[in-house]
Symmetry: D2
Subunit: 340 residues, 4 copies
């Protein structure tokens, strides 16, 4: 933590900062330039509490406080320098293997899930996705089949062997979902639902954490630190598009965020082009772009009849389109030295 | 709902749309222009389901689907044309009265809450705010006092008569918080935590719904519709700043969103300048701006010692600064025909 | 400038930074913490060149470079601590006087301008605005009357005594516009058109610089520094709304940016609620909000027949609506201690 | 154009709209639903003027106006359905060939340009980029060598045969730059500098139009329509990152915008990963992502000594890093069926 004093700060202001540093267990180091005095906090506690920076920023004469250390630890490269894969059942995500997780947005019927599961399995998917509990912006939209949906997912796993990734929205559902799922998904709208993050971390099973659509990379990593602090490091990060001024696509897939996060953490990072663009004809190009940019996996929506889907039809691929895309994904993955 | 066909769509494409409209219980109306054919859906069901628009958008030959009706009902001006106040205990928010809700970001101690409550009461606040359960971006930050904090809030109400506004983050806490609070606050990060919205609505007590920092006005209103559909119309909307590219302030207070929301809903709408700007010296100007723009109330952070606050110190006013601001608020409120 | 070294940087990396600092005429100050080494650049040249920070950031072992000094000088409070008004003819903008600049978006005819000028003069406007050269997003939209429009503006000044504010888009037009205008307006889309900024600064007449709709406050101030460096400090800054994800309004009026800019510069700052919201019924509330937030003036679009306007009809007030708003503006201005 | 009437509009309101449509040469088509009356404008003029939509939106009883036709013509797929390459000298951009345009951000010296030109030529670049006139956010930053810089670029072309792409910022420079350049670049900050667009279009030589960092795809295409209307269809569009809330990268490369633009226009579209990310280690992954997403070319900054660059050093590749990246680009291009 560095404290930059205002040009018109007084010696008394500087001394007050120094005293407060002492009270928080910091040493200090003063550098008096011609235009600004700068105070470095030394011998820091093991991490810089954000509230402490806030407290210093309101002392008289302080212009601003510059944090120096990273605001996350367990999920950082400083904690574990090597990119580390996460296993979903037998499927490996990361560590040189690119895993494609595919399936419908919502579980709508036993038949729909089974049909999709078989199709994506045949095309080479590593896992099946499907939502039984659905976050919908309108209370009048289809809200998911709930527990019944979980049963259909379990049946599809039984039949195909594909591990299951499914979303949980409410801390009270976590245990129930964890009984069925191979990986718990925390959706973008819940990325900062901290009680849910803690509950998911307690399960000690793989968790996929989607980036909030307005979360910075730093906030995303801090949210994953909540899960890590609660008990599991089997976390998959998923970039799914951010909200920008552009309305031609539903969101803007931010592939450079993946690259930035990769420098900071050892966790595998995948991309969800389906939710990002919201238009099925753009899913393919953006899936390939994500692979070329270094994604450890993809999350792709597939529906046997998109024109009848109860959610996200416009962005869902048909099984045939998905199978074709898988071929292209394999080719591009190979070009960048990865296996599907 | 209007369906715009592509320039190269065929008669068969048009017929398929018409058939599907019939299956959904719609009549239709075809307008063939020189450059585009447009199909209007007539005799609509009582509202336009978003998933249905999605389904039509993927039919062959369809360029886009334009929704016509509003995606909310209970909270709309079409349902109740007159702006309607919400009572927090004896304090009225809206309906020509401007209510100021003030207090610390976090409840930190019995003494801190009591001291603040007395100060804001003396300065003319209508209600006391204070968080016992805190959403913090870092798992290593102070997470709130929990139930102990609720007790301190109850004691402050006992002593000052101020109604209590406090946040709930977890559906499992709603009942406990509702026992103490006069108004349940749903924070910005939980605006789309739908299970929490439903649970809050079930309590049938006043709910303050903060706008998500990346939520459009339409999404905010749809989130309030969740609460309304679950059982209460005593909802206060709170604009608290949106995330933009500008980093000089923590968020950007979007006062025109208040004005837009006011045209759509009868619910009272207040502003939270403290969280929006994140810098105490800017809270005053933005509080006055919100009043001039027509806010029904304000949410303002006050802390007896901002330089020791465990959260949001940089944006907290001292009791003295708050008292001075209240004087200015009264003057501006009077200038726009409102009473504090 | 402070240089933060990476945790894994070597002594050699530190020495290389120190050497390079010497080459640029800096002294240095090294602080070795347990987790990071930090190097302060001392005895800096009179300002920190941004390209130099960039050069240091790519040296081996450097994590990041933190600039300390402000990137503008002439327009800063450090250069002139007192807010300083700008005179448009006899009209004062700033210094405790709130000046309202009103008129049509585009000059469309002699009659339209004259009629509007008389109306806004009667209602108490301080200056007349109107565009002869128009930046339009489509090449097929009305592009303005050009020189003919300037003549109509000159005639309106002749008749009413109101000073003229009009936009210039092309460096080749600056001299011609300067012959007629009392204040040259640089539009939001040209805020970073540096050749135009320089040319405007050379005229040594008042310049109104609109904030680019995606410019940070810092970039806006740096753009005004271009004008200042070219020869004039008679600059009025105008906040006119930024682009955000919200589409309910055309742009988002960022009033806290005015408050931030005010801390940094002595230049007067006004707001343009008309372009920001794009909807006439919202112009009034946002104009009052801007006044309450401390604006030194307002820019408001007025058109005798908005439903026939060749540009920006949806956000234009009729003369009657403008006159009514002026009454409210006076009341709110008085409440915050300003005169119109 | 469709006009949606408010629920409380009157028959008189509808008639007024119909009359005004007649005055503008439109027929009409009225659809009276239970909840809304909708009026379609028929037999439209050859395009829908935006100002006309604005005029209708302020008529009494009108809720909103929905445009139906595209706001651009010459550059649209409806005008020319086939993607069409642009030639820079002998180098083809688009039409199945991926052209890499590389070079320094700024021309700094004869030697720097010549050295870079030889290196990028050897590595397989199709053209040389380099700025002689530089848009810099600070007036105190290096502003480019101007005409001297153009001479160095001409010399580099002479020596290597590479066509030259260089930026023009001021309409008065266009002729001078056109004498030397093989392609005139319009930078992101000038995308809506309409006088410059017209002047560039008059030259009838290839123009590269960068997307404004806050421009929607629609605005970008409308800006290119200005160039087309002024006389040339040899336009290359360049996506270079948009401004979002994320600050970990300089901008956010919006690859899905390329895919959206491709559906609308036949013009070739390239990507500039260097300016988008602003960090040299991320340029490679994003360049490969752009290729996989279907870019017709890339714009990449290369500098012989990034740590001494007078602009954009942090994002510049060394010649060695560029040569290595070119190998990867070739591999990925081949995987998606393109030739470099």
């Amino acid at each position: 933590m560095i404290i930059v004093m205002r040009a018109d700060s007084t010696e008394q202001d500087v001394q007050r900062v120094v005293e407060r540093l002492g009270e928080h267990g910091y040493g200090h180091h003063i550098s008096r330039g011609e235009q600004r005095t700068i105070i470095g906090a030394i011998g820091a506690p093991d991490h810089e509490k954000e509230e402490v920076a806030g407290q210093f920023s309101v002392l008289p004469g302080v212009e601003r406080v510059v944090p120096i250390l990273k605001p996350y630890k367990l999920i950082s490269r400083e904690h574990n320098p090597r990119p580390t894969p996460v296993m979903l059942g037998d499927a490996q995500i990361g560590g040189g293997r690119l895993g494609v997780i595919a399936g419908p947005c919502s579980v709508e019927s036993a038949d729909q899930v089974m049909q999709t599961a078989r199709a994506v399995k045949d095309a080479g998917a590593a896992a099946l996705r499907g939502g039984a509990f659905k976050p919908r912006t309108s209370p009048y939209s289809f809200q998911g089949l709930g527990r019944e949906g979980l049963e259909y997912l379990a049946a599809a796993r039984e039949a195909t062997g594909l591990p299951i990734v499914t979303e949980v929205m409410d801390p009270r559902q976590v245990d129930r979902v964890a009984e069925v799922a191979d990986c718990i998904q925390i959706g973008a709208r819940n990325m900062q639902n901290y009680d849910l993050l803690k509950e998911a971390g307690h399960c000690r099973m793989p968790v996929m954490l989607k980036r909030g659509f307005s979360a910075t990379v730093e906030e995303w990593l801090k949210a994953s630190e909540y899960i890590a602090a609660a008990g599991t490091l089997d976390i998959i990060l998923c970039e799914r598009g951010i909200r920008t001024f552009e309305t031609a696509t539903r969101f803007t897939l931010d592939l450079s965020a993946m690259a930035v996060a990769r420098r900071e953490t050892f966790l595998p990072i995948i991309a969800d082009p389906s939710h990002a663009v919201g238009i099925s004809s753009l899913v393919g190009p953006m899936a390939l772009a994500a692979v070329a940019a270094g994604a450890d996996g993809l999350l792709i929506e597939v529906h046997p009849r998109p024109e009848q889907a109860l959610s996200d039809g416009p962005q869902s691929l048909t099984p045939a389109a998905f199978a074709e895309l898988m071929g292209q994904i394999r080719t591009v993955a190979q070009a960048v030295g990865r296996q599907v």
